[in-house]
Symmetry: C2
Subunit: 332 residues, 2 copies
């Protein structure tokens, strides 16, 4: 077989989320050249999920007539607190039962290629910085706002991951010290107040208490089925309860951003994840809170923008991470 | 006159605080070889304070039989939101009337040597990292807890200052979204809940409402004169109100640290400033909150320790900053 030039050897990049597993081939130019999905079925616990990851890799390689040896590496982005140094998922609110699971080495042993594991929001931050909304920006923060809230930190153009690799858990910082307890064990976390889950929960709570909203009709009276996406649709249609609920979450999100602006004085905050699809309905109130409450100098300096890579940010970023690591190894 | 070797040319380093101006000569080895103090008298506004800075520099140079040309540079650490790039104090809660004051260039024009201006807590972070509690640590955070709460961020061994130079305002992050308004304009800031001012305010509030405490006797009944230092003395003597007030502030401080631990996954948090003199009475409850509420991986990784350089951290750090900047200029 003809040898493939270094610059064309791709990464097999995986995004392991609480809902689905996205498995892709990503080129050095950041293009997703092949992709397949399967459900995570996270409730079945780690071993069945790892089997599904293997099957997914095998199917994709087979469909592309590729062998593991044709890969630069395998790189995985996963929801949870990742010990990057040791390749462990130490804990993950969205992957029940994953406690110090050595996912990196398990995959590496099977496929015998270099393998990497990083947090999904950190990966998305890298992806957006190289190929998305943050191109050319040196100091930026990425927030993924969906079921939960994750964060990634880019400093001087590089991913900042802290001493164990778990940095960026912005969703689990307290903004309401007297607020509700979060699934992570902390109190009044940004995630409990501004995530998609929080939006749905608040809409359900208010409608259950007898408030009127077009949302009740949208779910045929099954109030508990309301999602953040439906709240957004209702808000777009002029429903005032839906608008108030989104405004409240956006205000909390703005408070979280004020904290980031005052701590990091960043050039940009990129917002991705399902809730980012709400666009300015979410971002404008958050921007207003930043202008009102953060120090003027950093508030005027920061741009708060939507992500550009959509669902591909995680896998593209995981691939960027792998290419960077390989480069570091080669130049040592 | 004999030429002084490069390695022995010192920096004139100044710490401009809300209460006093410390003016020093600092050697390349981080030694404070000469020092003088004067009161800031900040209420008189910027121009009189700048005159006092000039007088202080003149007196110190004269006492040391030095000329400005004998200095590597002049480096100033100041309380407030600093635009390091442009050398401005943009705003400062402790320096009334300082709004976009070009302190760096004002000093530079008079003394005709390279001049630098950074935030005082950022300077202290650098000082502690080079010559204090953080020697050899690459990723650390410094918190100064006194009248207010300031912060400094060291990443990969270097000061992180953000896109305008104002990063590190950890004291002005919201931890209680329904809390009191802070002098900075934000709501429920860490500073309003955990600073020395907060400790004194809470003790005064409780005693004014009729609660018993030995503090009343300590200030001869002038309740409004109670300071955080006196609350600490009363707590050391077993006063339960004083102990409760400190425990409450320490718990809030712990919440602020949980946020930093989850965001930065740092190797170390160094606590300086007047409140740090409370030692484990302040730090132990804060450490407990971190262990209870932050993610386990970063909580177990971080060491929370008292600062070692005391009041000299700011000037030593300002000197470190100046030596680093000069080195960068020379090697360009």
């Amino acid at each position: 077989m003809q040898e493939i030039p270094q610059s064309e050897i791709p990464v097999l990049a995986i995004d392991l989320g609480g809902t689905k597993i996205i498995t892709t081939i990503v080129s050095r130019q950041g293009q997703v050249v092949a992709k397949e999905y399967c459900l995570t079925l996270a409730d079945e616990g780690p071993q069945p999920v790892i089997k599904r990851i293997f099957s997914s890799i095998d199917r994709l390689l087979s469909a592309q007539s590729m062998e593991p040896s044709h890969l630069e590496s395998i790189s995985m982005a996963a929801a949870g607190v990742i010990d990057s140094e040791r390749g462990l998922i130490t804990t993950s609110p969205n992957l029940p039962g994953w406690c110090n699971i050595p996912l990196r080495d398990t995959v590496k042993e099977k496929y015998r290629v270099a393998t990497f594991l990083i947090n999904d929001a950190s990966a998305a931050a890298l992806g957006e910085q190289h190929f998305g909304a943050g191109k050319g920006i040196k100091d930026l923060l990425y927030l993924t706002v969906s079921t939960g809230i994750g964060g990634g930190i880019i400093i001087s153009g590089k991913l900042y991951s802290g001493v164990c690799g778990s940095a960026g858990e912005i969703g689990h910082t307290t903004i309401d010290v007297n607020g509700p307890r979060c699934s992570c064990g902390n109190i009044g976390c940004l995630e409990t107040l501004a995530s998609g889950t929080a939006v749905a929960r608040e809409a359900i709570r208010r409608i259950s208490h007898g408030e009127k909203s077009s949302l009740a009709g949208m779910v045929s009276g099954k109030i508990e089925d309301i999602t953040a996406e439906e709240v957004d649709i209702a808000a777009a249609g002029g429903d005032s309860l839906a608008r108030e609920v989104i405004l409240q979450a956006a205000t909390y999100l703005g408070v979280g951003m004020v904290n980031l602006v005052d701590i990091f004085n960043p050039e940009m905050i990129i917002v991705g994840g399902g809730m980012a699809k709400m666009g300015d309905r979410l971002l404008n109130p958050a921007r207003r809170v930043v202008m009102e409450r953060a120090f003027r100098l950093p508030a005027q300096a920061v741009r708060i923008v939507p992500a550009q890579l959509g669902d591909d940010a995680g896998v593209i970023g995981a691939a960027v991470f792998a290419f960077q690591q390989s480069l570091t190894r080669r130049t040592r």
